[in-house]
Point group: C2
Chain length 139, copies 2
Amino acid sequence: MTTTVEFIEKLRNSGLRPTKQRIKICEVLFNKETTFHFTINDLVKIIEKEANEKISLATVYNTIHAFEKKGYLKEIPIDANQSYFDTNVTDHHHFYDISEKKLIDLDQVDVGPINIKKSVPGKKIKSVEVLVKLDTDNQ
Amino acid sequence: MTTTVEFIEKLRNSGLRPTKQRIKICEVLFNKETTFHFTINDLVKIIEKEANEKISLATVYNTIHAFEKKGYLKEIPIDANQSYFDTNVTDHHHFYDISEKKLIDLDQVDVGPINIKKSVPGKKIKSVEVLVKLDTDNQ
DNA sequence: AATTATATTAAAACCATTCTAAACTGTTGA
DNA sequence: TCAACAGTTTAGAATGGTTTTAATATAATT
Ligand SMILES: [Mn+2]
Ligand SMILES: [Mn+2]
Ligand SMILES: [Zn+2]
Ligand SMILES: [Zn+2]
């Protein structure tokens, strides 16, 4: 359980003004038992359900992008149709259930260390992410 | 060097009629020294340059999707803005150069074997892909 | 050659995302 | 305290990659 005061601090520390809308988005994103994956559409629906208010799409996009830039959220590339975001910002990997269109976290320990034995001159590795696609198992 | 006759066979074997447009797309995609990565926009530009003909966007999309379904092409999820395709359909991984927006192949041997130590009941692993994001190295 | 199935095309529609510009709210310092 | 400024929200328009449409054309089958 995180308090509103803490969200306000979190926002202030990242140079974001603590507005009513941003605090509500914080509550929906960060005041949960577990981390989760979502699309913007998912998020808008959750906000409408939890609060009985609407936050404009532009504000949702702006805030999500601000949080992403600040490292409060990660974007997970799955397919080219829409963006998937993750409130789990630790280094981890994913299962992607193709039929359910759902992401499932894979811890570092579930995958084991990955040692990239190749490098590109003048470039450094920023992230290493494994995506494991899952299909229905028909024996 | 692959001949037109071979492309026609390839298309026929996959239940696709060998039309002038599909053969041209085959030439652009598969009659190359090396495999490569492309967006639909890239492809349209290459076609316009190599052939002096235009193939409608709808046909390009339809054909690329047919090839993808047949396993002649792979789609690589990078970001949610547009689709990236790959003429290298072997199991392999990628560097993604963020500033250049370019994909670079990583062979299995460059990454090493990946053993997923977790499973989801009723689901089987369809693919395991590693995406290594690269940043400019400012010392 | 006639018939049927499939493909191509230009244009419209779709839809996630971004932009716009006017109204609003938070912050600051006189 | 409050005016002035900076930052934010909003509805709606615009954008741009992708898909759909439906008319026309081409390929395959008879
Ligand atoms: Mn983003
Ligand atoms: Mn596709
Ligand atoms: Zn995750
Ligand atoms: Zn590749």
